[in-house]
């Protein structure tokens, strides 16, 4: 018996996800709720006992045993199947695993079924694979608990109705099936990254979860590319805001605050990402993030990379980022022209107005700058950003 005041980070969340995945494989995806109940009971048993007995030597093994026993108690006729599934799991119990088990991967693929809407995939993944509660997901995704709960209920119904199975695709099929999973991981990262500067810890957890999944998913080159991208962006997280929590522009950031360890990891993943012959948007975006790490930003190179990105994954948001790079190469007016072309399509998109505002200010058009900073301030939902835009309006 040991008394470890600090656990492996997020042990309970991770264990919840792993146990649910293993149980669901035995019980079938149509009994997801039941699997989740058994898991919750195991966690509650730990909560009841460990305060008195201390944390056992192998906490995760303890949890797995209790969940298994509970499931066997209720589902006697499945006892053997449950027993076998858990025997395999306990043997391979990765206390500090760096690879998702087959069960977790199956579950992840199911949660990311392409027929589900991307936001639904994300909510379901957080709930089942990552062990977040509905309330935590709601806080992380800035939605109401009711809305999240409904989204998850509907997703589970969809899984039942369509008899979606927990299967692993063939080796040949895996790379394609993984695309949706990688998209969800990236969505998770962006949701967390977008506002993780504030005091909202749960959003920071999204960043960490996304990075963990990026590290543990099957290590195809595109997985490495995504992992590189996330590490390199995270490296700048601490430097993105000032002491008051207000955002800073890249050239205002204190580079000494960058996370060197994250940069090293990111660059390592970039190397591994170069192995295949497939060039994904994650590859290009990781390279863009890497370019931003140099003291002297090579803007012409960044424009080229955005051109590549437009060829692989064209979108108005990418075009907007390209416009910023163009402004750095050819001057604010050139960037302004490029950004203005997107005004209709991205009318509700805060960064569009922030960009046009800033470029207009630099081009000497104060009235236009104020107009767009005001629009950005009206649209934004996070307080630090609102403050920042108000400051910009006054400065324009």
């Amino acid at each position: 018996m040991t008394d470890v005041p600090a656990f492996v980070d997020h042990l309970f969340r991770r264990s919840a996800g792993r146990m649910t995945a293993t149980l669901a494989r035995v019980l079938g995806a149509n009994h997801l709720d039941l699997a989740e109940d058994f898991v919750q009971e195991a966690l509650m048993a730990a909560l009841a006992q460990w305060p008195y007995s201390g944390v056992p030597e192998n906490p995760e093994g303890w949890l797995f045993r209790v969940a298994r026993n509970r499931a066997i108690d209720v589902l006697r006729k499945h006892a053997r199947a449950i027993d076998e599934a858990f025997a395999v799991r306990e043997e391979a119990l990765p206390r500090f695993a760096h690879e998702l088990g087959d069960d977790d991967l199956r579950m992840m693929l199911m949660c990311c079924d392409e027929r589900l809407a991307p936001e639904t995939r994300l909510a379901l993944t957080l709930k089942i694979v990552c062990g977040f509660s509905v309330d935590e997901i709601a806080r992380a995704l800035l939605a109401t608990p009711d809305a999240i709960a409904q989204r998850i209920v509907r997703a589970k119904k969809f899984i039942r109705d369509n008899a979606i199975e927990l299967t692993l695709p063939s080796r040949e099929e895996m790379p394609r099936r993984l695309d949706s999973v990688l998209d969800v991981v990236y969505l998770m990262f962006n949701e967390g990254y977008a506002a993780s500067a504030g005091d909202n810890l749960v959003r920071r957890d999204l960043v960490d979860e996304a990075i963990r999944l990026g590290e543990e998913l099957p290590p195809l080159p595109k997985t490495h590319a995504l992992a590189a991208l996330m590490h390199l962006q995270r490296a700048r997280l601490a430097a993105r805001v000032d002491a008051a929590g207000d955002p800073l522009l890249l050239d205002e950031q204190d580079r000494s605050l960058w996370d060197r360890d994250a940069i090293t990891r990111g660059l390592k993943h970039m190397e591994l990402a170069a192995a295949g012959d497939e060039l994904t948007r994650f590859h290009v975006e990781a390279e863009i993030a890497a370019e931003h790490l140099f003291d002297e930003t090579n803007w012409p190179r960044i424009v080229e990379l955005y051109d590549d990105l437009m060829a692989i994954a064209p979108s108005a948001v990418v075009a907007l980022n390209r416009a910023i790079a163009v402004a750095m190469v050819d001057g604010p007016q050139a960037g302004l022209d490029a950004a203005s072309a997107l005004e209709v399509e991205l009318d509700d998109y805060v960064p569009l107005h922030a960009t046009i505002g800033e470029l207009a200010r630099r081009a000497g058009d104060a009235a236009r700058a104020r107009e767009h900073f005001r629009r950005a301030a009206d649209l934004t939902t996070t307080l630090p950003l609102k403050r920042w835009f108000v400051k910009r309006i006054q400065g324009a």
Partner: protein, 115 residues
Amino acid sequence: MAKYMLLLRDNGSFAGISPEEIQRVIARYSAWRQSLGTRIVSASKLRDSDGRVLRRDGGKTVVMDGPYTETKEIVGGYFLIEADSYDHAIELSRDCPHFDFGTIEIRELQPTPTA
């Protein structure tokens, strides 16, 4: 040294707790246990279900299912600790996270007179 029994009563406020919160709560208890070190003589969770209450009724022993539900909070478990005095025992209990989830009753074990 004197021994004190800490009876931890639960008020059932764990409903809807998330895995992450469960971990945090356990970590807090662990930290508290660690601060007590070897002063903990023994400790155990008591099973929440299947308690029995026995009563003698006219020569017959009557067995009733417990735990006593008249008391709003049931004893969830106990710690037996060593302390110098009641004040000391209170001091040691002050940081116990259990106050977020119920109450603690402290009782000194009746000392046996030394021969």
